[in-house]
Symmetry: C2
Subunit: 194 residues, 2 copies
Amino acid sequence: MPAGRPKQFDQTEALAGAMGVFWDHGFDGASMSDLVEAMGIGRQSLYDTFGDKRGLYLQALDHYMGTTMRCVLDRLANPGSALENVRAVLKMWEQESASTKCRGCMLSKSLADLPRDDPEVAQILRRHLGRVQKGFKDALDRAQADGEISTKTSTRALAWTLTSTGQGLSLLGNLGVGKLTINDIIKSTERLLV
Amino acid sequence: MPAGRPKQFDQTEALAGAMGVFWDHGFDGASMSDLVEAMGIGRQSLYDTFGDKRGLYLQALDHYMGTTMRCVLDRLANPGSALENVRAVLKMWEQESASTKCRGCMLSKSLADLPRDDPEVAQILRRHLGRVQKGFKDALDRAQADGEISTKTSTRALAWTLTSTGQGLSLLGNLGVGKLTINDIIKSTERLLV
């Protein structure tokens, strides 16, 4: 590409395409030809802009955290009842996991897919997961301060449990276990909020 | 191979080798050369005995259910206090997930890895997962009959929640989130048993 010539594609759009491929197929299962096709760019542009496959994967994961997961974090930080925010996220997860089109959570798929010999990716995933837990913990702390949940509850522990529940729901939803099973899990989890 | 010549390898041992590769790398990430090496057999013997890669994967999954997951099901069906059996499984999962060598659960990794275009594999995984849920439900029903847990508890719902918790713990354990986080999740989950 001649120096100074602007890149002829929308980086965010290309990244969203890559995210979809990694989301559906995981890191190992995503082929370069699938990626190139979904991103709508040439192979060389991909390398020039996003680096290698691993670099692209990490940027796609960032994109997921900044878009899909952002909805969860924004909902938790909504003004108004913090407890209702937590319940709303559970409701959102329930609807997604019970849907026959459930795609699962890209984060939980990435955790399962984790390469054993790549501590850097593990560290990045721990950071992403920690942001989800912090979103829950901040909401639960506020709910506790506002008298919506018991002061005896460890908000740290409950926040991790809700984060972990999201992972379990994602796997079961992706498997298509059905509405009744998902509703069972949500109802049990809600018992922890009282 | 000449007709009638006995196979020169232990099928169960070879299958255990294949299981380890799929467990660590998933279906897509497992290469035929890794499989052949871990199984200690030739490529042709692999095809002759286990069929193609997908067939081998399903048999490796059966092997996992019959060995590692068997420990969980046997523990749940132990004579004595059924509630203690459930607690013992949670304790087992806590220790595994908190270990720095945690490998995750092959079942949860397979769920995350699920090919979108293979409903037969999804059905097999649903059946395996259903066996885990049934193991919990039978134990919880017994605990309820023996007055160990409230008769108001939906044992079906709680059994699905414990099954899902196992999936979440496996992903977080595999990521290496550490003892404190795992203990947080176990403690919250135990609150559901009272």
